[in-house]
Symmetry: C2
Subunit: 206 residues, 2 copies
């Protein structure tokens, strides 16, 4: 868990001597945490340097810009989400594939909670943010196609538009970043189960 996440080619970066000695991955992790606490725009490079116990200059030795930190975090989140769809594409019936996508999305969201949280708050204020929004849009499109296929197969109710259904269900899934904490009482699989249960069968008793 606490091992170095292997940014480049080095198999295992040995702990640095002297001062802090952060590598890119560690800095990115702490940066994303702070962006999520305060908001990306409200977080200054000085804020981040203070949290790291570094000066701004030392930070700029590791990264070219604040925006580069954002770009790397957004890429991590988007790649993971796209991976869910790539994996699910090989499944069986539309219903099975949809189930796999919903469960997979919840699990990615939890496993990569910080970067996905950041992604979901992007508004499009820079080229970096706009590119991320476009990748998100393509993801949504692919999920909507899956929902429509499940509707055509008669497995999902067709009295609500597929795009609306997709938005609502992913709205519920994505909202998890607002409150879920891995250290809390509810585990990953349980939450995925609860969400799939409510979205498929609803909260009303029968």
């Amino acid at each position: 868990m606490s091992a170095t996440p292997a940014t480049g080619a080095a198999p295992a970066a040995p702990a640095r001597r002297g001062r802090p000695g952060y590598d890119r991955a560690q800095i990115l992790q702490i940066a994303v945490g702070l962006f999520n606490e305060q908001g990306y725009d409200a977080t200054s490079v000085a804020d981040l340097a203070a949290r790291l116990g570094l000066t701004k200059s030392a930070l700029y030795h590791h990264f070219d810009s604040k925006e580069q930190l954002l770009a790397e975090a957004l890429d991590e989140a988007l790649s993971a989400l796209e991976g869910v769809l790539d994996d699910a594409a090989t499944g069986g019936t539309p219903a099975e594939r949809l189930d796999a996508v919903l469960r997979g999305a919840v699990e990615v969201l939890i496993d990569r909670l910080p970067s996905v949280t950041l992604l979901l708050r992007v508004r499009g204020n820079s080229d970096t943010e706009r590119a991320a929004l476009e990748r998100r849009r393509l993801f949504d499109q692919r999920v909507t196609e899956l929902v429509r296929a499940a509707q055509d197969a008669g497995l999902i109710r067709a009295d609500i538009d597929g795009a609306v259904t997709t938005r609502l269900v992913f709205g519920m899934i994505n909202s998890v970043v607002e409150w879920y904490r891995p250290s809390g009482p509810i585990d990953r699989e349980r939450l995925a189960h609860d969400i799939v249960t409510i979205t498929l069968d609803g909260m009303r008793t029968r």
Copy 2:
């Protein structure tokens, strides 16, 4: 719809002569729109003045601070949401009251889309924001109590924790601010119906 929203005592503010001639309500409306486009922190007072076609100084004649604009918008959204709960408290069975709260929340969210959108993005970076978050928390608590009462009455499934159910369902409802546009093809009542349908009965066919 286009009438003056009655900020103070004056029944109908006559159109100003000369330049733009904004009143507080008009400025607030445009400010909230810009905050939602770019994010509150990413929006400078200069940005807002530019959109209004005014200078910063002219803006400060109407408002004491950027934060005051935020505070007034957040209060509008919170008051409207609290009103939904106050109204629903007088209903009949827990199920009827919960239905009324869900529908009412969707309708408030749509009727006050700009201010509610702003509210849902607040992170707690100032006293103003923290006070708004606290009012939101109290709202959530009151809804959770309603869900638990419906569970105790056997009307809502009890195999998922009431607080989790509340968060998930309001996560879906709140996500509407991310994509809904009143000018679009789907009207308020239709969306409220779709959301209540999915959250109560799910998207699976039976």
